[in-house]
């Protein structure tokens, strides 16, 4: 369960203070399938960075599974990201000239306590198979299509069995057919494995796949709007 209380984030640009988040309170239960929408500049990326423990809020409280993570230092946040959160990015962010399999294995090397290579490999093979890329696992990202690359990235995000999956515009670089494939994959993961999936997007079609849409505007959450939107789009 993720809980945010009065989260603010202020960037200091020289003399000027630039508030980006102006008091966000939010609760996402385990197993939810949520989208975070909003226009650019609404603060959704900043909120996502805080949710992903990449950034620290300026003030407010933030719990993941009942643990206050607002005050964690860089190393503690790194460990938390490694063990609890899986990331999927818009531009896939796969390691170039590295096989799909090794890309999937990479986060597991930072897992603590360290696991054996064969164990990691077996788990990665399982995930590669899950995303349907078994016969392409030795291909490098350059040899894969955009959709395939994103599927490798999803497999990578799952290697450490995270409870939360955070996807930043996962369909932003994909055509509509592959977008649907990828979103279906997220939904399956949410439904079958009970993983909390949070998708940051500005695209209503993508947001429509999720159960709940959280709409942000100008550093605040506008409740309710997205519910109606998703309801209309689902029809």
């Amino acid at each position: 369960m993720i809980e945010l209380k009065d989260i603010t984030k202020v960037y200091h640009l020289g003399e000027i203070d630039l508030p980006v988040l102006k008091g966000i309170s939010l609760r996402i239960d385990d197993g939810e399938f949520v989208s975070l929408t909003g226009a650019s500049g609404s603060g959704k990326s900043t909120l996502m960075n805080i949710l992903g423990c990449l950034d620290r809020p300026s003030s407010g409280e933030f719990w993941i599974d009942g643990r206050n993570v607002a005050g964690l230092n860089a190393n503690q946040r790194a460990r938390l990201r490694n063990q609890r959160i899986g990331f999927v990015f818009q531009n896939f962010n796969l390691l170039a000239r590295t096989s799909a399999l090794e890309n999937v294995m990479m986060p597991a090397y930072y897992y603590h306590p360290a696991r054996s290579n064969s164990e990691i490999r077996a788990r990665a093979l399982e995930l590669i198979e899950l995303v349907g890329l078994k016969e392409r696992m030795h291909h490098t990202p350059a040899q894969l299509s955009g959709g395939q690359q994103q599927r490798v990235a999803i497999a990578r995000s799952l290697i450490n069995n995270p409870g939360i999956l955070l996807a930043d515009e996962p369909t932003g670089n994909l055509d509509s057919t592959t977008s649907v494939e990828v979103m279906n994959m997220f939904r399956d993961l949410n439904r079958q494995k009970g993983i909390t999936v949070i998708i940051v997007t500005h695209d209503p079609k993508t947001a429509a796949f999720t159960d709940r849409a959280i709409n942000m505007s100008d550093g605040l959450i506008l409740e309710g709007v997205s519910d109606e939107l998703s309801a209309t789009l689902k029809k």
């Binding site: 960075n49 992903g52 990449l54 950034d55 860089a74 190393n75 790194a78 460990r79 990201r81 490694n82 063990q83 990331f87 990015f89 962010n93 390691l95 000239r97 590295t98 990479m106 986060p107 090397y109 930072y110 897992y111 360290a114 290579n117 990578r156 995000s157 450490n160």
Partner: protein
Amino acid sequence: MKIGTLLVTCLKALVRNPMRAALTVLGIVIGIAAVVAIMEIGEGSKKQVADKFSSMGTNVVTISGASVSTAGVSSGMGGRASLYAEDSEALMRECPQFVKAASPVVRASGQVIVGNQNWSPRSIMGGNEHYLSIEGWKVAYGSSFTRQQVNEASRVCVIGQTIAKELYADTDPIGQDIRIKDVVFTVIGVLEAKGADGMGNDQDDCIMLPWTSIRTRLMGASGSATISKGGAANSASVSSTDTFSTSAVNFYPGCDLQPYANAPHPLRTRTVDSIAVQVIDGKSPESAMDAMTPVLRRQHELEPGVLDDFNMRDRSQFVKMMTETTSTISSLLIAVAMISLVVGGVGIMNIMMVSVTERTREIGLRMAVGARPCDIMWQFLLEAVLLCTIGGFIGIAMGRLASSIVSEQMGWPVSSSVSAMVLSVSVAAVIGIVFGWYPAWKGSRLDPIDALRHE
């Protein structure tokens, strides 16, 4: 991250860009190769010098009488005939932990005759049965003189290669007669060649006798000359050996000289010119000298406060001085080679900086999925160290190749030096750490959010 995985990750990162990696390590390779080649050549020439001097007998302490001055005229070192053959035995007896062997040494000079040939050897030396081994001589064929022959003052001698060549030409000298200052000796052995000493003197132009034989049978032994130079006090006693000089008064007219020469001399024959002491391997000559001084003082019954009537010199000092000259030159060259290593290190740093910038996205991703700043730091540091160490090993191979080419083409002596290899690999690793540290640190300081967005 486990060290093995980290190593594999780094290796893969290097292999991904082999040309760049090769060019980057080139600086290190050249630097290390230069260091190794110079060290091997330096080591070789140092060894050559040491070999040359060890043929003169290393680890040998020479004890000579102190100087004596009469009426303001100083005799110089060894002027006082204060050393006795018994001193040599006392040293062996009382300092067994330092003294491997000790021998009295007496010198003589004069003409030797074989058949119708004659020759004036550069040196005629007398010692005991240990003398040849102390001085680093080996007997090529025949044998050395024994303790019994020393005690009996036998008329036997061992000759150097030059003497053998000059006087015996192609015939076997063993068992042949040789007349040394008109006394007939038998050649019992021929020494192995030593060649020239450090000063260019022919060491093989020598004859070795039992010291007792010189003292009792040869006239004009150096003892008399030295002592008479030294002072009147000794001249009377020593003049007995002058009996055989033509100018001396003949106290026993009608006496046949030859039987007299054959009989051991009772008077003051036991003073010796010097004592050569071989120090046990691994013991320093200085410590041996410290141990021997009280023994000699006791032997000579010197009261406390009285100056030593002898003088000790360590021959290895000379060898040290010569090897130091060569090592000074080679350390100078190594310093120059080290500069090229530093230049190579700067090259590594440069490429690592580029690599960190180039892989900013990768760093951001690794951080996002859970790499701590120290993990990133280790990754890049290890990459730099790996690059340098690989360069170090290639450099060693190149350096050895270069030194073997030099030794083959120019005939310079080379000697493989393990310390050079260990040193250069560790220097390479240290360079990797020093020059890889800053880029690695910069990489680890990146903000994952910015790094992920980096284009």
